[in-house]
């Protein structure tokens, strides 16, 4: 420990009694040391008194995770909790299983395309340059006049890594955006013109060969979030948050950012 370091520790009150007495005695004898201590004390006091940074955002994550409830709702929630303690806990804990693809016949063509596009992406052996970044507007299909914005999912640590080629968009009638997480977790977002087979505004889920899709419709466009091996609770929350992001025309406020982050933190590691 150098003398300078010891002087700092003295000013911080981190020396033991003997060490502090030794420094105090040296200061009394040496004006240079006294000047250094005075400078350090002034520096420490000024730094400590600096005002806290302005423009601090609100703790949106707390609000997002603990939504305000009315007194009635809180009482109902408490009653529900008590009921659960008396027998329903087991079923409550089980995450609902997605619907099988065969039970969503009216959407099966569209959903099959989403699953196929996702399979094609994860089956690729090498990365293909996307030619697009989050925030860009892209065509769903060649000739389509409608441009769809590529959602920015960096709040969930997912980066855009794949956009299905235009030629594929013709054959499958939609575009698949592939996002990859820092640990290789992959999530597909399939976007297609709703046409006459709109998914409807509600976010619903479906499973097919171990892959799960959450699908919904925003405006005239169908969306499906598709993943394999991702924690079902995480995928469900991600889909809900992405649907909210799309519905808000991609305006990401603190609350929605917190929801995306909360979604990404749910469940275990992604194995897809």
């Amino acid at each position: 420990v150098t003398d300078w370091t010891k002087l700092n520790a003295y000013v911080d009150g981190e020396l033991d009694a003997d060490g502090a007495a030794e420094v105090a005695s040296a200061i009394a004898r040496d004006p240079q040391l006294a000047a250094r201590v005075a400078t350090l004390s002034k520096l420490k006091a000024t730094t400590a008194a600096m005002p806290v940074q302005a423009g601090v955002p609100p703790p949106a994550v707390l609000n997002a995770m603990r939504p305000r409830r009315s007194l009635f709702v809180r009482r109902v929630a408490i009653a529900a909790s008590v009921l659960m303690m008396f027998g329903a806990a087991g079923t409550w804990l089980a995450w609902p299983r997605p619907t099988a693809l065969t039970q969503t016949a009216q959407y099966s063509d569209n959903l099959n395309r989403a699953f196929a596009a996702h399979r094609a992406w994860i089956g690729e052996t090498k990365a293909i340059a996307t030619g697009a970044v989050a925030g860009d507007r892209i065509q769903i299909a060649p000739g389509s006049r409608e441009l769809i914005r590529v959602p920015d999912l960096t709040a969930t640590q997912l980066s855009l890594a794949h956009v299905s080629p235009l030629s594929d968009r013709t054959t499958v009638g939609g575009v698949l955006l592939g996002y990859v997480g820092p640990n290789g977790c992959r999530l597909g977002l399939w976007i297609a013109d709703a046409g006459r087979s709109g998914f409807g505004p509600e976010v619903r889920d479906v499973s097919h060969d171990g892959t799960i899709a959450h699908f919904w419709q925003t405006g005239a466009t169908n969306y499906a979030v598709v993943a394999r091996g991702m924690d079902p609770a995480r995928l469900s929350m991600m889909a809900t948050a992405i649907a909210a992001l799309v519905a808000r025309d991609h305006q990401l406020d603190d609350g929605l950012r917190a929801k995306l982050q909360i979604a990404a933190s749910q469940g275990g590691a992604c194995v897809g």
Binding site: A9, E14, T46, A48, P57
Partner: protein, 181 residues
């Protein structure tokens, strides 16, 4: 439930300070906000944590730091100051005119420090952590915290001595304003 409540309270009580720390790591308001929200999510989701309020604050700072390392995997903090900062004051005795060490010059000086130097000052001087607590947050030996802090303050004094205004004009003269005793 007890841990969750303690973490929520610690987040509310320290939110502004935690944001300041996140900002000192990221140097960017949006990234700091993102980092803090993500760290808060991680803290709230934790199943184990400190068993008393006193330790929860330091634990929160450590989570912010670990989240930053995980998220940005930045090399910035690894560029430590050892190569650029002397261990001891050299020619002058650092007897500054009191007016030099003012809020504005300290803030400007902090902005010019290496990330690791700014971080240790943020923890000890601004947030009031003891050396042992800072060592726990940074996952470093206490001796390293001591030497890093002393070098950081030396660098800060150097920076204060060279503080310039936004036009690049020196508003505080360096050696000329220091008085040798």
């Amino acid at each position: 439930v007890v841990l969750r409540h303690r973490v929520e309270q610690a987040l509310l009580d320290n939110w502004r300070r935690l944001f300041g720390y996140a900002l000192s790591l990221t140097r960017n308001q949006d990234e700091a906000n993102d980092l803090l929200q993500q760290a808060a999510v991680a803290a709230l989701a934790a199943r184990t944590g400190p068993d008393h309020d006193g330790a929860t604050r330091a634990w929160m700072f450590r989570i912010v730091r670990n989240t930053w390392i995980d998220r940005f995997r930045s090399e910035r903090l690894r560029r430590t100051e050892e190569l650029t900062t002397a261990n001891e004051p050299t020619d002058a005795v650092w007897n500054f005119d009191d007016r030099l060490i003012a809020e504005m010059t300290v803030k400007a000086g902090l902005d010019r420090l290496e990330p690791a130097q700014r971080e240790i000052i943020e923890l000890v001087d601004i947030n009031g952590f003891r050396y042992a607590e800072a060592a726990e947050i940074l996952q470093l030996p206490v001796g390293t915290v001591m030497s890093r802090l002393s070098r950081a303050r030396l660098a800060l004094l150097e920076a204060i001595g060279e503080t310039k205004d936004t036009s690049g004009n020196v508003i505080v003269l360096d050696a000329a304003r220091r008085r040798k005793v």
